[in-house]
């Protein structure tokens, strides 16, 4: 397998349903071992883009190549190397978890003796070893989602495409899933393409994110780069300071890149272009006040969230 070239390369990828444009000319490149967050509110064209990457629907216009192959012309070459977890994954309810995985192994042509230890290992990874011999019909949604993850990893993919994997998971489940994703990328070098409408939850594991809105890829880059791209960027730092005085207020407002510093009682709010937490803490110390608490909010992500995600709700 060649390691040269990107795993996903989309150019002007477009899907129209009649007069409605679901995906409007997106350009994307995903490299080996990368975790890419494909974010956007519901109905912004994420799933349709994924379907085109897997050859499950044909693009109206533009091209996409996955692992160097055209998914509509050469779907098998793509599907041998790519694991796909659909939005609402289903299993054969009358078969057990292990039987379902065994069937997937057969479909992938994995010999029995290789498949068995791998299935046991994966069931262990997704913490389903106790439920392995239970019919999937009795599984909870979270368990099915975890079995789905095992199912996707069974073929030892180079790239994993997860369509809204956090949907329907409880907070603990989401933390667990994100941990697994980080591990896949860091330890096994598997690239992860992760779609979600939960920007704030998934962004911490993503090397890069792309934000979809009304079928268009409106922003793309590292979270840090997005900060620079957005005018309203910057940080809001909130502090609780015991024994604050006017001299401290002046000193905080005078810190480099600070636009505004306001205080009411012990609460201080600093608006700045850069993260000035260290300097602010030093200033508090110099003025003989005691710092009780300090927090920095990434304004960019908040703004992005408000602009692209909540408009879909409104």
């Amino acid at each position: 397998m060649s390691t040269a070239g990107p795993l996903i390369e989309a150019q002007g990828l477009t899907k129209r349903y009649g007069a409605f444009t679901a995906v409007d000319g997106i350009d994307l490149t995903i490299g080996e071992g990368e975790v890419f967050g494909f974010l956007g509110p519901n109905g912004s064209g994420k799933s349709t883009s994924i379907l085109m990457m897997l050859g499950l629907t044909e693009p109206t216009d533009g091209t996409v190549r996955v692992c160097g192959h055209d998914p509509s012309r050469n779907p098998l070459a793509v599907k041998r190397q790519v694991g796909y977890l659909p939005e609402s994954v289903g299993f054969y309810g009358d078969m057990t978890g292990a039987q379902n995985l065994r069937f997937t192994a057969e479909l992938n042509g994995i010999p029995r003796r290789d498949a068995e230890p791998r299935i046991a290992e994966l069931l262990d990874t997704v913490e389903l070893e106790d439920a392995a011999n239970q019919p999937v019909g009795q599984y909870s949604r979270g368990m099915r989602q975890r079995l789905g993850l095992a199912d996707v990893l069974l073929k030892q993919p180079r790239l994993v495409i997860l369509d809204d994997p956090t949907l329907g998971l409880d907070p603990a489940g989401i933390v667990w899933l994100l941990g697994i994703i980080e591990e896949l990328s860091a330890r096994q070098g598997i690239a992860v393409f992760l779609s979600s409408h939960q920007l704030q939850e998934v962004q911490r594991v993503c090397h890069r994110v792309g934000i979809m809105s009304h079928g268009k890829l409106v922003l793309e880059g590292t979270v840090a780069a997005l900060t620079a791209q957005t005018d309203a960027g910057g940080f809001r730092i909130t502090l609780k300071v015991e024994g604050a005085n006017a001299a401290l207020d002046t000193a905080l407002a005078a810190l480099p890149s600070v636009r505004e510093a306001t205080r009411s009682g012990i609460d201080v709010v600093i608006e700045s272009d850069e993260d000035v937490r260290a300097a602010a803490a030093a200033a508090v110390h110099e003025h003989g006040s005691r710092l009780l608490e300090m927090r920095a909010n990434d304004r960019t992500l908040e703004d992005i969230y408000l602009r692209y995600f909540q408009e879909a709700v409104a």
Binding site: S47, L51, T57, K79, P86, F91, L107, N108, K155
Partner: protein
């Protein structure tokens, strides 16, 4: 594809529809046990093992009529949720994310169901023939065996038609209930309505039967209408196969001709009967091919959304 084929096969023989399939074989058992063989034997007919399938002596309806009426239910039962069932279950997207061609999914399902039908038809026939042999202490002749194998093939093709119809419905309709109802609706339309309409049409075109010519035209219109219906084709084909003497008379015209030539009292050979049913088999298989091609094209280009 083999993995999917064997999974489908084990599904059919698994708990899901086992009762229905077993029911058909059990039916053969009941028929084989209750058919009034004494009455059959005393009628002095030549082809004993063929008559067992056609007779109503001792049973409410002949086994053949039963297959013709209710065989479609089995074909439909094996196919109505083939594709949309996977879709509702959410397994279709996962299945198609594995390295197998879309047509393999389709073919594996169709072939596994066909093999199931063939096995059920064969088991039922073997049960009936076996019971008859046991009760009478005679074995079928070579001639009868050939005709019975022909019957098995035609019956399987007939059930496969309804299977293909149901699989097509399962591709066209997202809901399994809708596809089941659509298949059953078409079963009524193709199985019964066409035959009735054929009679009405014949009465319209030839209102008064005065001459022999009129009679021939009347019957011809009816039998052509019958040949559009798979059930009509099936009854015609089976009567040719199981009734070596009267069955080859496809319409009044051949009866007249046969009488003139004095041929009607002697049976035709199995090879000749097979030659006569060949067109019926070709038409049935053609109908299956048209249905499958239509749903195949639709399925291959369809968007598979989870």
């Amino acid at each position: 594809m083999t993995a999917l084929f064997f999974k489908e096969l084990s599904d059919h023989f698994g708990r899901r529809r086992f009762a229905l399939l077993l029911g058909l074989v059990a039916l053969g058992l009941v028929w084989g046990a209750f058919v009034d063989l004494g009455q059959l034997a005393s009628s002095g007919r030549q082809f004993f093992f063929l008559d067992v399938f056609r007779t109503t002596a001792g049973v409410p309806i002949s086994l053949l009529s039963f297959l013709s009426f209710f065989g479609p239910v089995i074909g439909i039962a094996l196919g109505f949720d083939a594709i949309n069932g996977e879709r509702t279950q959410g397994t279709l997207a996962r299945l198609l994310a594995q390295p197998l061609h879309r047509d393999s999914v389709y073919n594996a399902k169709f072939l596994a169901a066909i093999l199931t039908l063939a096995l059920v038809v064969a088991s039922m026939m073997i049960v009936v023939i076996g019971l008859t042999m046991f009760r009478m202490g005679i074995a079928p002749t070579g001639e009868e065996v050939i005709r019975l194998v022909g019957l098995g093939l035609v019956t399987t093709a007939y059930l496969a038609f309804w299977l293909a119809l149901a699989i097509t419905a399962s591709v066209l309709f997202r809901n399994t209930v809708t596809s089941a109802l659509a298949s059953i609706g078409l079963w009524f339309a193709l199985g019964f309505l066409i035959t009735l309409l054929g009679g009405v049409l014949a009465d319209r075109v030839v209102p008064d039967i005065e001459t022999a010519d009129d009679a021939v035209r009347h019957v011809n219109i009816e039998s052509w209408a019958n040949r559009v219906s798979p059930s009509g084709l099936y009854s015609e084909a089976t009567s040719i196969l199981l009734d070596p003497i009267g069955g080859r008379a496809l319409n009044l015209f051949t009866i007249e001709q046969g009488r003139l030539e004095g041929l009607l009292s002697t049976p035709v050979s199995a090879a000749q009967s097979l030659q006569l049913v060949w067109p019926h088999i070709v038409v049935l298989v053609g109908m299956i091919a048209i249905l499958l091609a239509a749903s195949y094209v639709r399925f291959m280009r369809e968007e598979i959304r989870a």
